[in-house]
Each structure stands twice: as structure tokens, then as C-alpha cells.
Symmetry: C2
Subunit: 381 residues, 2 copies
């Protein structure tokens, strides 16, 4: 099923309002695509345009209030949001700031506190100058951080959200299965990238916001470079890592292939990556922490060639390609049922690296792979 | 050719430094994908992950300095940037802020002024709390707006940039030509969206960050909603609007089709849209303003059904899907050779709308269509 029942948004809003009360916040001010969508269901690729700011205010009680450009009014009216206030954007003199200030003055008590996400992995999606003016137009009300409320809410997924991520994972899994149709020695890497995105769409992806990958002899140099026009050649390890979207939710996992027979070093590295993934999977139960999963993987990897420069060995995912928490030694987030994580070990092979990634769901008991778990042997093209 | 000659980045940097001197700025601090890429050439889809902040500092003299997560070091080292400072991100305690502050203290005089884009169409891509801490760690140095320097630079494209936009336009034009292969009565709109993205990739797009569209009887309701599963039916007007990317540069234009014969009202609306586009095209020469183009289109449209809720009738484009200026009555930006604009008139047809869009280049003399100009008659599927 596409979209959500209205109960989903009522539940998200009421949980937010409970946390707001607990933290002494009188409203939340949201400006980014996932945060606005989380409470409204407002789903559009129009955010690709940086021109117009969009605002959603979650008051202490009642439904969220949308303060948005008029071009979005028709679509927002299809959501459960009723109070939709619009201005004709772009407005070079006042791009929604006065309307937003007026809305905050109406919804928030005189000396009230407005929470706006300001911590790790967040940003404010409106011009800084406009934000400064906003703060001066809300009298004694103050804007502070959201005290992690959005992070805490979005980190634990509902059953309906999990189904969407699972659908995205299934589609990507089917596309990965078909990679031998499009990749072989002699095919340029940039053509493999194009054809792989076509496979993702053909299997049912709504769109493919993220594709990374690489191919080089016995491993690759990094995992964020765009595709070169270099043809695949025997001895290359090809890696493709996709974040495709189905109904607004991401998967994020990768696969490796050897072009022709893999060297013993590459085979061993792939074994280590799968073993590391398994080690973290074994630990991935409620009560364990993000750092526990890091250490589970790292202890396997350090027996091999050692880690990479990626900075972490996995992360949350959902409405964004990457979300909280991070699988690093210092992230002590306690795992809860409903969290969806990537396990993403990377290993050095000589001067190159190999990276593997799977998506898992934390449940009450044993975790569950949402991505179709890769085999221990690196497949051959 | 992919990428740019080093001279392109030297030129961009030296023009920025001239403007900085003129405006009394000692450095620029950049945080968003296009702004960082403009001065560095750092091209990656990894920005899709909101986790890590990335910084580029343009000092008063010399090359820009990158302050970035270690995962990006290998790719940044392939650009012309030499001074690359990295930290292992994510770091929950200090995600690059101290390293950035140290860099600013080194590059900017004690009482220096650091310009950070803060105006219309900009945002700060780092956590607000981190920005607050940054400001407290640079002693007497102050962070202010960039006084429009990024806007003024990016708005006028080089020959090399124009070629990339032209390539993106050509690819989209070829994909639009092939729409009759994938769209006909009975085909669900969401399948048309998927197949059209596949056509864009098949014709050579690197990726398809933006696709909007709609289909309904005699016009559509809005232009930003996601595709429904509704099959196309006779009497529908189908619109597809793509922002596909080639080597980091966007096109942004659309096409309309009538499923079966078009009604007289739809045909007349399409005529008016093409006539409005032509009217703006005639005016699109150096010295005219963005508002002149708005008025040229609006005078044609108001003879028809009247305008839409879009808020503007076109905009700049380039490294982003939408850029400055806006074709609105209050934007008096003077057109210069090298600007690339969309002409995007919309018109009401009863309770529905139709929107048309082309991409044009401002030259010393007559403008030039970068998109393959649509015919006056709405084509039939």
C-alpha cells in the first residue's frame, strides 16, 4: 500500500507532542523534506529545487500547520493537514518569513519555546538571513534546538514504514540479481551505472536518488567517486551501492562482483566482510548499542587487512539514505525494535578497499535481514 | 569533455576574490553541494547522505581549502584543490567544527569578515548548533552574508558549463522524442514515470534527480505531485518535466501530449503557452530584466485563461535544478550573456492547468534555445 493511514500521522504527532511536553517545548519548527513529510505525508520530488522554503509547525496540541509556497497547496491539501497557509513564492522581499512568524505568534504562547532540529545530521533549510529575521519577529518567543525529538521519533520505524523499506530492498535485490545482464569485461563503468539504474526502475523503483560504486584491480580506491568511462577488465572488483526509493523510503546496500576469477586476497576479503556482517547481525538485538555492532564488525575486520576511511561501519536508514545512529565506537544509542540499520563493513586489500553492506531490522528477538543476504563467496561476472 | 580545465577553477576563484575584496570579505565559507563543487570540481552523489558536513573556504588569495570528512579525501585529491584537511566523520562530539575554526583562524585576519551565503535560495548545510559553536571559536572574526557573490558568479555560465547544460538538454530532448514508445491510453502514470526515467538514462543521462508530471482530463491539477497508478485515458493531457543531469549540470524543461485528439480548449492553451514562450524569447537579450520576460509571457497568458499558482514563469538553472534569477515582476536582475534560463509559462484551462517549459541561453545578440523547441500544436499520443 502506498501512503499511510491517517492513524500513522496522528500517532507520530501525539508522540512528538508528548516529548515536547516532557522537554518543555511549545512547538516544533521543521524545514527539511523528511521532517516535513514525517508529520504530513507531503511527498514530492520538488524539494530538488532549492528556491523555496517550506515550513511545518507542530503545535503543543492539535494537527501540524503547514506554511508553504502556493505551488504546493494542491498537494498538501491531499494530506491529513487541514491548516495550510500559503504565500506566492519566490517573494524576494519576504519569502514566507512574516507568514511563519505570524503563525508562530498565534500557535505559541508569548514566552514559549520553539524547537528546531539543530544537532548532528540536521540542517536548517531556509536562508540564514530569513531565520535571523524570523527570530526578531516572534517577540519574546525563542527558537532553540529540538532536543533530539525528531531523531528519537524517526529512528524507530512503524510496521508500515518497515514494509516500504522492505519493498525498496526487494526491488534493489532483484536489480542486483540482474547485474550479469549489464556488466562484463569490456563494458565501461559509466554504462554499468546507467544500466543498473534502469534495472532498478524496471524492477519497480520510483526513483534512484543514490548510486555509488567503483571498479578496479583487486578492489577499489574509494566508494563515493562518480563512474569513469574505464571498461571493466578481468581482475576488477566491481561494487554497486544503491539507495533507491519506493514510496518515499530508501534501501541502502551494495554488492561486489569479481570480473573473472577473484584472487585469493579478494576472496578472503569478501569472506571477512560477510563474517563481519554476521558478527554484527548476531549482536543486533534490543539492548545492544550501536557501538556494540561496530566492535563486533571491527574485531573481525582487524584480523584481516584493517578498516577504511569511511568513518563508520553502518548507520540508520529510512526516509533519508542515512539516518541516526552511526555504528562507531562513540555512539551508544541503545537498539530498539523497529530500528532499521545498515551493516557496512569495509576492509583494506593491499592499497585498495572492499566494502559490503546489508540492511537489517531490529525486532523483539533475533534481527531480520531486509536485504537479500549476500553469499560468502564473491560472485564472478 | 567531462570535468573542467584547471583554468576554469582558477578563473572562478579569482573572480570570487575580486568580489570579496570589493565587498570587504576576507574569506568565503561554503557548505552546500553546488557551492563547494563550483570552486573545487568535487562531484559525487554522496551528498544524498545528510550525515556529514563538508566545508570549502575561499581565502582572499590562493587556492580554496577543503575541510572535509576523510571518506572524501581520495576524491577531493583528484581535483585541483591541494590543501585538504580531513576529520573522521561522523564525530558526535566535534563534527569538523574545531578543524574548520582552526582553518579560519589561520586563513582570516584577527578581525576579518567571513562571507557565508545567507540570502534568497541559499541554506547552511551544517547543524545550527555546530554553526553557533563555530562562531564562538573564531575569536574576533565574524561570519556575515556573502553579499550575493555566489549568486552573481554562478548566474553567468562559462562556455564549458553551457556545453554541459546543452548536453543535458539534448539527452532530455531525445528521451521526450521517445515518449510515444512508453505512453499510451491504458498505461498507468507511475509506469510512464519509471519508463521515462529509463529513457533518459538510455539516452545518456548520468542520473535523473528530478521528474515531475501529471495527467488528467483536459489538463492537470498541479505539477509537483508524485505519479498516481491511474492509467492514461483518451482526453488526458500528459505532462513530463525532467531535470536530468550530465556531468553535474541540469536541464529543466517539459513536454505536453494529448492522449487521443485534444479538445479545442487544450489546443488553444498550448498555442498560448508556445506564444508566451516566443514572446519572452524575443525579449531575452542583454539589458532586458527577468521581470521583462515575466511581463512578456504574462501579457500573452492573460489573454488566455490567466496564470497558475506556480509563483513564477521561469528561472535560472545550471548546477542546481533551479537557480537565480526568478521570472517574476519584482526581480529586476539584468540579463547578461552566459545566463541560462527556463521560460516556463503556465495557463488555466477551466479548473485545470497546462505548463510549458524551455531552456534558453542569453548571448551577446539573439538568445538560443538549448532545449529542442516544441511545436505550437500539442502532439497526440
Amino acid at each position: 500500500m502506498r501512503g499511510f493511514e491517517q492513524a500513522e500521522f496522528e500517532d507520530r504527532t501525539s508522540r512528538a507532542q508528548d516529548l515536547m511536553q516532557e522537554h518543555g517545548l511549545d512547538a516544533l519548527l521543521l524545514t527539511t523534506e523528511p521532517d516535513v513529510r514525517y508529520f504530513s505525508g507531503f511527498l514530492t520530488r520538488f524539494w530538488e529545487s532549492p528556491t523555496r522554503p517550506w515550513f511545518l509547525v507542530v503545535p503543543a496540541t492539535g494537527k501540524p500547520v503547514a506554511v508553504i509556497p502556493s505551488i504546493g497547496a494542491a498537494l498538501m491539501a491531499q494530506t491529513w493537514i487541514e491548516d495550510i497557509r500559503t504565500w506566492t513564492a519566490p517573494d524576494l522581499a519576504d519569502d514566507g518569513v512574516s507568514l511563519l512568524a505570524e503563525t508562530l505568534r498565534e500557535l505559541v504562547p508569548d514566552d514559549g519555546l520553539i524547537g528546531c532540529p539543530d544537532g548532528h545530521e540536521t540542517h536548517l533549510r531556509m536562508p540564514l538571513a530569513g531565520f535571523g529575521r524570523l527570530k526578531s519577529e516572534i517577540d519574546r518567543r525563542r527558537i532553540t534546538g529540538d532536543l533530539g525529538i525528531l531523531r528519537d521519533l524517526r529512528m524507530v520505524k512503524s510496521q508500515a514504514e518497515i514494509k516500504k523499506i522492505e519493498t525498496a530492498c526487494r526491488i534493489a535485490g532483484e536489480a542486483f540479481e540482474r547485474v550479469p545482464e549489464i556488466a562484463a569485461a569490456g563494458v565501461p563503468l559509466d554504462q554499468v551505472f546507467r544500466r543498473f539504474q534502469m534495472l532498478c526502475l524496471d524492477q519497480g523503483a520510483d526513483w534512484v536518488p543514490y548510486l555509488a560504486g567503483a571498479a578496479d584491480q583487486g578492489g577499489y580506491g574509494d566508494v563515493i567517486s562518480p563512474a569513469t568511462q574505464q571498461p571493466l577488465k578481468p581482475g576488477d572488483v566491481l561494487m554497486l551501492d544503491t539507495g533507491l526509493v519506493w514510496d518515499g523510503y530508501f534501501c541502502d546496500f551494495d554488492r561486489n562482483w569479481s570480473v573473472g576469477p577473484a584472487s585469493p586476497a579478494v576472496r578472503a576479503a569478501h569472506h571477512a566482510l560477510i563474517d563481519a556482517t554476521e558478527a554484527a547481525f548476531e549482536q543486533a538485538r534490543p539492548g545492544a548499542t550501536a557501538s556494540d555492532l561496530y566492535h563486533a564488525m571491527n574485531s573481525v575486520l582487524s584480523r584481516g587487512g584493517g578498516g577504511t576511511e569511511a568513518g563508520r561501519l553502518g548507520h540508520g536508514l529510512g526516509m533519508s539514505l542515512t539516518e541516526w545512529p552511526s555504528l562507531i565506537p562513540t555512539d551508544h544509542t541503545v537498539l530498539k525494535p523497529g530500528m532499521v540499520l545498515t551493516l557496512e563493513p569495509g576492509i583494506e586489500v593491499g592499497s585498495k578497499i572492499l566494502v559490503h553492506e546489508e540492511n537489517v531490522l531490529i525486532t523483539e528477538g533475533a534481527p531480520r535481514f531486509l536485504s537479500p543476504k549476500a553469499g560468502r563467496e564473491i560472485p564472478e561476472l
